[in-house]
Point group: C2
Chain length 201, copies 2
């Protein structure tokens, strides 16, 4: 019923996660109607440039512009070259960078172990992490996988693999989130907060 160009746009939007046909139609008609007439063109340009304009860093596998040789963190000689923080996804790097509390390097696994989804160690950048460690300059590996079943399993696996090397393996603290309410904390979080309680000085 709808004209071909509109239907094609709705179909393409619908293939994105969390966007059903109704939302896709709403987005398409918003673009048709909006006063910012160039928004659909700007989005089209950004999408065209998305795959060709980006690449993964050969060292840490974080995303970088394809005209760079290494990502901004790896190419910054002021960062502590002795610590690697291992995360699942590039967005986790962005989240950690926003804290301004970490000055070391990163390593992006691009996923987590998951027997259900059939993701095994070879699907992740774990071998590449061990290669980096083997070169000998790394003093500490911080495991910053998600606090989920998959993230924990991936962390445990890496810890076993890293035991062979002379370095410290740590992981992010588990406990009550800031601004949270103890009353509403789930059982597991509260248990972890109790187990990991720290002496006050």
């Amino acid at each position: 019923m709808l004209p071909e160009p509109i239907q094609q746009c709705i179909d393409a939007f619908s293939r994105l996660p969390g966007i059903g046909p109704k939302t896709a139609a709403r987005l398409t008609f918003f673009l048709l109607r909006t006063q910012e007439g160039d928004l659909s063109i700007k989005l089209a340009d950004a999408l065209t440039n998305l795959l060709t304009g980006t690449d993964t860093c050969p060292d840490c596998f974080n995303m970088m512009s394809s005209n760079q040789e290494r990502c901004r963190v790896c190419s910054n000689s002021e960062r502590d070259q002795g610590i690697i923080c291992v995360v699942e996804e590039p967005l986790d790097v962005a989240a950690l960078e926003r804290t301004s509390g970490y000055q070391g390097l990163y390593h992006v696994l691009h996923g987590a172990l998951s027997p259900v989804e059939g993701i095994v160690p070879e699907d992740l950048k774990i071998k590449e992490l061990l290669d980096r460690v083997q070169r000998g300059e790394i003093k500490e590996v911080i495991i910053a996988t998600n606090p989920s079943m998959e993230g924990d399993a991936t962390g445990m696996y890496m810890q076993q693999q890293l035991e062979a090397y002379d370095l410290k393996v740590t992981r992010l603290a588990r406990g009550l989130p800031m601004g949270g309410d103890l009353e509403y904390a789930d059982q597991n979080t509260l248990l972890r907060a109790l187990m990991g309680r720290q002496e006050m000085e």
Copy 2:
């Protein structure tokens, strides 16, 4: 922190309604990671084609492909040329067409009167509706604006304007939605259902 091509894509997605920076980032990284490698290109093509490939029908102002002279409904001589159904948006036409229960023509207002948003009759295609009626072939105008304050006000305004012509003005029935539960129907809907009760035959 993120590479330029990724940030640009996130920024463009964020300008769409209902999509915040977090959802925009999720969509962008989905496009980077998905196995359907051509999805970002397909979406980009569809967006590029969206404005240039579409136009409004000169008769009813519904959307049509820009290579057509009139929309599919207006150019179909089998449709009843004596009835016009007036709706607010092109998607309303699509919804009515899906019912397969209407064989007349349409007229798309492209909005509804709204003092709050400063939308006055001249902003809508109301004059164009009166022009169509004036040509004399129309026997009935069905007002199918949304059952909201703005939709009702727009309907009332059009009814007044149409009084000068010799034709029937009707509007869509108000009442209980199908599959609904009387217990959960809101007061207004129930009142309308009572007022508009129909004799059983």
